[in-house]
């Protein structure tokens, strides 16, 4: 179906973008890569009067790494560029894995990590790894800028903590701690190219005796937003990843998930997969941590 009619706004500066956003609150959608927005518009799920495109704003597609401050991804940084970026591959291999697991070659050439986050789909590939890395989003409005931890960013399917006047300009990811490791696990049983039926990211920081000093988990596609699993995380702290610990962690995580049934999987299957993927993610994160 053709796209519905809209007015197209393509400011050169973020200041102008913020002004336009504020002026057309409630009737405007922000476009980064557009790969999700335009699909939803053509299905008439969204009918904005205005589309605010960020493509002409200079300097929004940066990917930079600083060993003291960490990784910064501009709002217009494309998925394909994140996949291929040497610093991402070296310091955040699971971010690259998640970006590469997103959709198809063409979509990765067009779409952005920020877009994937701001759509706030519970199954988004790029959220879990960023979440367990305690990333944050910079939100800019005419009145100023604030930093929103990803853990507080998602309010529901398609809903974020961004105010109607705010533009998400940058993702900030802290420097990986020595002795930490991350894993991203995804199951889409129908095809190698599919939205996740369940995805799980795990972060582990080990102490000198290979016990978990910190543990973070993010469970995707099993709740209205990607979920942290605080009870499982607490359980893991101070423990060695013995088989029985893994088993229990998997079961705990499954208990923290609140899945529903849809075209991709039933809630029962999803819950079971949370347990399986959690175990697999913990094992891999553990291995990563040992080698980091």
């Amino acid at each position: 179906m053709s796209l519905p009619k809209f007015s197209y706004l393509a400011p050169d500066t973020l200041e102008e973008a913020c002004r336009l956003l504020a002026a057309h609150q409630g009737k405007i959608k922000i476009k980064a890569g557009g790969t999700d927005l335009l699909v939803r518009m053509s299905a008439r799920a969204f009918k904005p009067d205005y589309v605010l495109a960020l493509g002409k704003v200079a300097g929004l597609d940066h990917i930079t790494f600083d060993p003291r401050t960490g990784l910064r991804l501009g709002a217009m940084a494309k998925l394909a560029d994140v996949v291929d970026h040497p610093a991402v591959r070296e310091h955040y291999p699971m971010l690259a894995r998640a970006a590469k697991a997103t959709a198809t070659v063409q979509i990765r050439n067009m779409g952005t990590v920020m877009g994937n986050i701001c759509n706030a789909s519970p199954s988004a590939d790029n959220i879990p790894t960023l979440m367990v890395r305690e990333a944050s989003v910079i939100a800019l409005a005419a009145t100023g800028e604030r930093e929103i931890p990803l853990a507080e960013f998602f309010l529901g399917p398609g809903k974020t903590a961004l105010q109607p006047t705010e533009i998400a300009t940058e993702i900030r990811v802290p420097v990986p701690e020595a002795g930490s490791g991350v894993s991203y696990q995804k199951i889409s049983p129908r095809s190698k190219v599919d939205i996740a039926a369940v995805n799980v990211a795990a972060f582990l920081l080990l102490d000198g005796e290979r016990r978990c000093r910190q543990a973070r988990l993010c469970l995707g596609a099993v709740g209205p937003t990607p979920l942290r699993a605080p009870r499982t995380e607490d359980f893991l702290v101070g423990k060695e990843l013995r088989p029985e610990v893994l088993e229990e962690a998997g079961e705990l995580a499954a208990g923290e998930a609140t899945p529903i049934s849809d075209v991709r999987a039933s809630k029962e299957y999803r819950r079971l997969m949370v347990a399986i993927l959690t175990k697999r993610a913990l094992v891999e994160a553990h291995n990563q941590a040992l080698h980091h």
Partner: protein, 757 residues
């Protein structure tokens, strides 16, 4: 049999590959005519309702809207492919009185651009009185179920029976009887080209329609009927078609609307479907509920089978009557079933109609038959390969009252695929997450039964020969991507001793190409159109041989031949002249009359089903993740008998495409519906396998020579869509112990079957 062919048997690139590779091939939606209007269809949002009122006044007032029509504007003539049984024709060009599924076409608009056409649709107001709907065969056949068509108060639109032998007596003599229920699901053709058509009116009573179709002749006839026009005042042209797989072989509503509105407005009208329309409302493979009882002797000998299928036909008959008939035939094919009874019921439901789709009754019937063979083998302690070899059909076998098998390479295929895969060893050794399984098929080479009730030959070819050494082949056979434009050229080139580039081809234009051809379906084209082309070529040769004999004063005992561009006496190649020169002489000898040959083919004396059967066996190897249930198909190997391949590369391509479609049927493709609404209407949600999902595998052609086929050829590539699902299901059973009786095979079903979920 002589294998001394020059063109037949060669893996030549497709004749139309180059134009497709450079993007110059025109498909229906690529046609843009001056003044063309854009059409859109208004579809029912409810599954079952009476139409109380349709108000199009606001839509008509919208600037740029040139035409708005509803059922009331039409002649209200019902149509359908089964012209032989007029009461089976149950569809109106646009809904009259009732809608019967979500997507049923209610009205159409034509406007100067797409945006306006879409806006106009939103201005049409339809008042519906909703009726309760039925969404499965069980619901539809229940006592007191809502009636979908008045003519069929029990919602069963037709019943087909096959019965031979003495079933009760035979079952009494069996050592093992399996009695199982199965469910098979609907899948989409998912051809890459969404349907499109353009109609143009000549302001003189005639219409031309370019449409993405497999059957230009059907469209011509049924348009004439529904528009109240004469058949030959309608010209249907098939441009390049982006796949069909059975989904484009009827008159469709948009073809009618484009033609009607072009006549009404005097301007060309184009309709192009969206993918969402295709997936949510388009034709699909019949879902079925099946019960199959099959009996064996201890040694594995098949004795009897009783097969009952309830076809979920959706809201209209479409090609359901044929599917119901063929499903029963396929249920009794492949092996010797001395006693067989089939009952097939075509049941209406308030869902998008099912229609013809690749395999046409075979994927369903063979999923059941092959799964039961594997079950029986296990219970009798026989290798699945051996139980098949024991019962396999052979050349000369008869299906009572139905057909004689004139060529059969089934046993050879079984043995070959076993050898290719190291079957016996792997079947014994694999296990715990790894499995190997087998599935087989037989298929038809076109149908015999004349349900369209054509008064023409089933197919016809015309060949015109010229003194520049070229020939022009005219045929209504329709290339929809399967490659008949190439294969028919190869057959003609072989017969006339010419090169591919010497042949010009005009195909599938009802005003130009010879009447008639029933179109592309049921794997009929290579055999039927191929035979017609050969006969036309023989007529050309007869004319040329006369003048060559005269020129060289040949003794009557000489045989003549056409080869390498020459026409000559077989054992005196020096006594010959170039093809073009022979044409020139033949024309001179007959006062300038053009050199034309005609050929036609209609199967006669070939039983009820088809002139020729093909066979094959496929072995799947899988790995199942015992924790997630995720299935990886590691390898898919095939040995099949398609007679003599005319173009082996093309045959392989068809076969690999079959594996793709069979894999989707087995594992990942599914319409998920709720109350008649399709929830999987994008390629994101309706998942066809991608390049990374395809398993590696080899294929071997077990060559036979089909006496009824051109140069020994018969069906290739359609039947092969059937063995994939049972082979994978068997491999999954071998790997996990979970036996699938309800497609598709999903990780969830495996885990549930194993008690892990």
């Amino acid at each position: 049999m002589s294998k001394n062919f020059s063109v037949v048997g060669q893996s030549l690139p497709r004749a139309d590959a180059r134009i497709k590779a450079v993007g110059a091939a025109q498909y229906a939606d690529d046609i843009i005519l001056p003044g063309m209007l854009y059409g859109k269809l208004l579809r029912s949002p409810v599954a079952h309702a009476r139409i109380l009122n349709i108000d199009v006044s606001q839509a008509k007032k919208l600037p740029g809207v040139k035409c708005v029509i509803t059922g009331d504007d039409t002649l209200k003539i019902k149509f359908g492919n089964w012209r032989l049984v007029p009461e089976s024709q149950d569809e109106y060009p646009l809904a009259v009185d009732k809608v019967r599924f979500i997507g049923d076409e209610v009205a159409a608009v034509a406007a100067i651009d797409k945006d306006i056409a879409e806006e106009a649709l939103s201005l049409i107001k339809v008042e519906y009185e909703e009726l309760p709907g039925v969404f499965s065969v069980e619901e539809a056949m229940a006592e007191g179920a809502p009636v979908i068509h008045e003519l069929n108060p029990n919602n069963i639109s037709l019943q087909r029976k096959i019965d031979y032998g003495d079933l009760d007596k035979a079952f009494a003599e069996c050592d093992l009887i399996l009695d199982n229920e199965f469910k098979v699901h609907a899948v989409s053709h998912a051809y890459m080209e969404p349907c499109a058509c353009v109609a143009e009116y000549d302001h003189n009573g005639r219409l031309t329609v370019w449409t993405s179709t497999q059957t230009p002749y059907f469209v011509q006839c049924l348009l004439a009927k529904t528009l109240g026009m004469r058949e030959n005042d309608i010209r249907v042209i098939k441009p390049f078609v982006g796949g069909g797989f059975g989904g484009k072989m009827e008159l469709r509503k948009w073809e009618f609307c484009a033609a009607f509105m072009a006549r009404q407005t005097g301007r060309p009208v184009k309709f192009t479907l969206t993918r969402a329309e295709e997936l949510a409302t388009g034709r699909r493979r019949h879902p079925m509920s099946i019960r199959s009882k099959v009996g064996f002797k201890k040694d594995g000998t098949l004795v009897a089978k009783e097969f009952t299928a309830y076809l979920d036909g959706g809201a209209y008959n479409s090609m359901g009557p044929t599917a119901a008939f063929l499903c029963g035939n396929f249920g009794g094919m492949l092996y010797r079933y001395p006693n067989y009874r089939y009952n097939g019921y075509h049941v209406y439901t308030n869902k998008p109609p099912a229609g013809a789709m690749r395999g046409f009754g075979a994927p369903q019937a063979l999923f059941v038959a092959e799964t039961q063979m594997n079950m029986a083998a296990e219970q009798l302690g026989i290798d699945p390969l051996d139980i098949r070899l024991k019962n396999a059909m052979e050349t000369g076998d008869e299906i009572p009252g139905v057909a004689t098998i004139s060529s059969c390479g089934f046993k050879e295929s079984l043995l070959k695929v076993a050898e290719m895969t190291n079957w016996r060893e792997k079947r014994r050794q694999l296990g715990k997450g790894k499995g190997i399984g087998i599935g087989c098929y037989s298929f038809i080479s076109g149908g015999v039964f004349n349900w369209f009730n054509t008064q023409y030959n089933f197919t016809r070819a015309e060949v015109r020969a010229f003194d520049d050494g070229t020939v022009h082949l005219l045929t209504m056979a329709s290339d929809i991507g399967q490659g008949c434009d190439t294969v028919l050229r190869q057959i003609l080139a072989e017969e006339l001793g010419l090169k591919m580039e010497d042949i010009r081809l005009t195909a599938a234009d009802t005003a130009v190409t010879p009447q008639a051809d029933l179109g592309t379906w049921g794997s009929r084209v290579t055999l039927m159109a191929g035979n017609a082309v050969r006969k036309a070529a023989q007529e050309i040769k007869d004319q040329l041989y006369k003048v060559v004999s005269l020129k060289f004063d040949l003794n009557v005992i000489h045989d003549l031949d056409c080869r390498d561009g020459m026409v000559f006496a077989k054992n005196r190649p020096d006594r010959g002249i170039p093809f073009g020169e022979a044409v020139r002489l033949a024309q001179r000898a007959n006062r300038g009359e053009p050199i034309i040959g005609y050929g036609s083919y209609t199967p006669r004396g070939k039983g009820l089903v088809t002139p020729a059967f093909s066979f094959g066996a496929q072995v799947a190897e899988v790995t199942v993740d015992m924790e997630t249930g995720a299935i990886t198909v590691d390898e898919m190997n095939t040995a099949h008998d398609c007679g003599t391949p005319i173009n082996p590369m093309s045959v392989e391509g068809q076969l690999e495409g079959s594996v793709h479609m069979g894999l989707g049927y087995a594992l990942c493709e599914q319409f998920i519906m709720k109350g008649g609404k399709t929830l999987t209407a994008t390629f994101l949600d309706y998942k066809i396998p991608c390049a990374e999902d395809m398993p590696p595998g080899k294929s071997v052609h077990v060559e036979t020579y089909e006496p009824d086929g051109p140069f020994g050829a018969k069906e290739a590539g359609e039947g092969l869509v059937s063995p994939t699902a049972p082979a994978i299901a068997d491999a999954v059973y071998h790997a996990t112990g979970y036996r699938c009786t309800e497609l598709p095979i999903t990780p969830e079903k495996i885990l549930r079957g194993l008690g892990k979920l």
